[in-house]
Symmetry: C2
Subunit: 342 residues, 2 copies
């Protein structure tokens, strides 16, 4: 039985008055415009005035009202849009973003966007007067992204890189990811190498392309086999069922979580990993190292990606006009899930 308790409040519910720039000005004995100048590090304030104002700010515990600031100038808030909260790789990216804004005046807040509400969420962030946006694995169309980039400084992470855009991008070299995996598996002696990819058109298309090209380079064109699924347990299950029909020796999964599901699925079907089915994931998330998974995975350093994104945004704020596209190189981390020989 659930329990609910109601209590009279210890204090009233009325919004307490904020300390404003005026009270700081009064306390310091200067005009409120002077306080604003100190706040913004504006040109033309004497050292003594600055000190007096800063003393009052500290004394009164003043913090600037972001909404009021944003209404006239910058809000110093940036929005980060994630596609979901479940993938621990996103936490790596977030850590990088945080680190990137560390020594800047910018505060990052996050939003989680389902495919259907990403437009609304980004608009809401613009309406909040945020100064810039970082979009991770956005599901917006190239046209929508271009439009967004023309309305607010933006950085897209994990989108197919486009030239001549209105926004910056930071990407893993996904073509290379696909190649690394096939090279490794082929060297282990596998020929029937299948790939589990994403239905939704994203950077995964590049990973598929790398997989295809390397399969061809290895003379394994006949065994190219890709299943695209939704990112749901049911979808993944269906995709695996389909791939297993062709008795693959190895499986490349577009992300670690899917690879873990695949390990689970394979084991439930009586298949040994890696003897009967080698499995490789992508992102090298924390769970890969666990003994029960020991998953070979492609590391794309989410932290580095995030730090780049934050830096790019700050550069735009500080005046950079031309867009910048960054492409980072992945590396393979080999573990037991794909080690066929002792």
């Amino acid at each position: 039985m659930n329990k609910i308790e109601r209590n009279r409040p210890g204090q009233t519910n009325g919004k307490p008055k904020r300390v404003t720039i005026l009270q700081v000005a009064a306390d310091a004995g200067v005009s409120f415009a002077a306080v604003s100048k100190v706040l913004r590090n504006a040109y033309g304030v004497s050292e003594s005035l600055r000190e007096r104002v800063n003393a009052s700010i500290k004394k009164l515990g003043y913090t600037p009202n972001t909404a009021a600031r944003g209404l006239r100038g910058r809000s110093f808030v940036v929005g980060v849009v994630f596609p979901d909260m479940r993938n621990p790789f996103l936490a790596d990216i977030f850590a990088g973003i945080s680190a990137g804004f560390e020594r800047t005046p910018y505060q990052a807040v996050q939003g989680i966007a389902s495919q259907s509400n990403e437009r609304d969420l980004t608009q809401a962030m613009i309406d909040m007067q945020m100064d810039g946006l970082i979009l991770v694995s956005s599901s917006l169309s190239p046209e929508q992204l271009t439009d967004l980039g023309s309305r607010i400084p933006a950085v897209a992470i994990g989108n197919r890189p486009l030239v001549e855009t209105t926004f910056d991008t930071v990407n893993n070299n996904d073509e290379q990811s696909g190649r690394l995996v096939v090279q490794h598996l082929a060297k282990q002696g596998a020929e029937r190498i299948a790939m589990l990819s994403l239905e939704h058109p994203t950077a995964m298309r590049m990973r598929e392309s790398g997989y295809r090209h390397e399969m061809e380079a290895q003379g394994l064109s006949a065994y190219i086999n890709i299943a695209r699924t939704e990112q749901t347990p049911r979808g993944i299950y269906g995709g695996m069922e389909k791939l297993l029909e062709s008795r693959p020796q190895a499986l490349f999964c577009w992300c670690d979580a899917v690879a873990f599901e695949s390990i689970s699925h394979a084991r439930s079907n009586g298949l040994r990993v890696p003897e009967d089915l080698a499995i490789v994931g992508h992102d090298n998330t924390v769970y890969c190292a666990l003994d029960q998974n020991s998953l070979t995975s492609v590391d794309q350093s989410g932290e580095q990606i995030g730090t780049h994104a934050a830096r790019l945004l700050v550069e735009r704020f500080e005046g950079r006009i031309e867009t910048e596209q960054i492409l980072l190189q992945p590396r393979l981390v080999v573990r037991r899930s794909s080690t066929l020989d002792g």
Copy 2:
């Protein structure tokens, strides 16, 4: 080698003008106050005026400026503060919160707070003129929470419930969680049941208490054994090492991620799970069901918790004065990691 490309932008960088309430008013041929009234569903607007204004809003693609709104009235933005992004249980809570705000005008944005910056983050959210806050597993002290609650409507999730506070709470019955686990393990025949808990004082203290009380009730007081660790791989490792010295038959971990680490650690030490060491987690996150984990875990329905929190906040916005404390009942989901017999 990483690649960087620079391009001239397709469009300029200047902020495009927003559509404001004035342009809507001009387009509809009414005063801008009339538009504001339509927006706020305020009393005293004729049907025809409302229709005309709504038509102009749609036509011009107007969306209200949140910052300007917040400066006078409500911003319709609520902030959700999470302790980290790695724990998939938080995603369940978030899903519940989202669902809870679905049919309301409120937009939720998230912040991730390390222990050291939670105060700054909550202050920043207040500075953004957010209407309310939801704090998940907050590391703020009771005094800080009480103070926060007196400054802005707030709901705390996963804090030790206090009476006579300034904020609402939603909690799992953690005492009950501890009891359920010990009952289950004792029934399986285990006596030396150890617990891996958190260093930082949180709701975990209640879980420890339930563990203790049930151990006593089962006549196993002599075997009570709790290790409190940091939430880092190193910390968890150290805690396990310490607990294993006393050769426990079963281990109750304060969250699933720690339980997965424990499974990994046990296996690397040559221990079989559950034969040599039964393991139970908490939160019943998605990975528990995977064959390679098959982890028994306590389900505390994060989604329900989140939905309650959102509802409580909306109620406060709509005038509720007294605080409310909700306590939900957990249930145990048994899997192979703790099934000692057949």
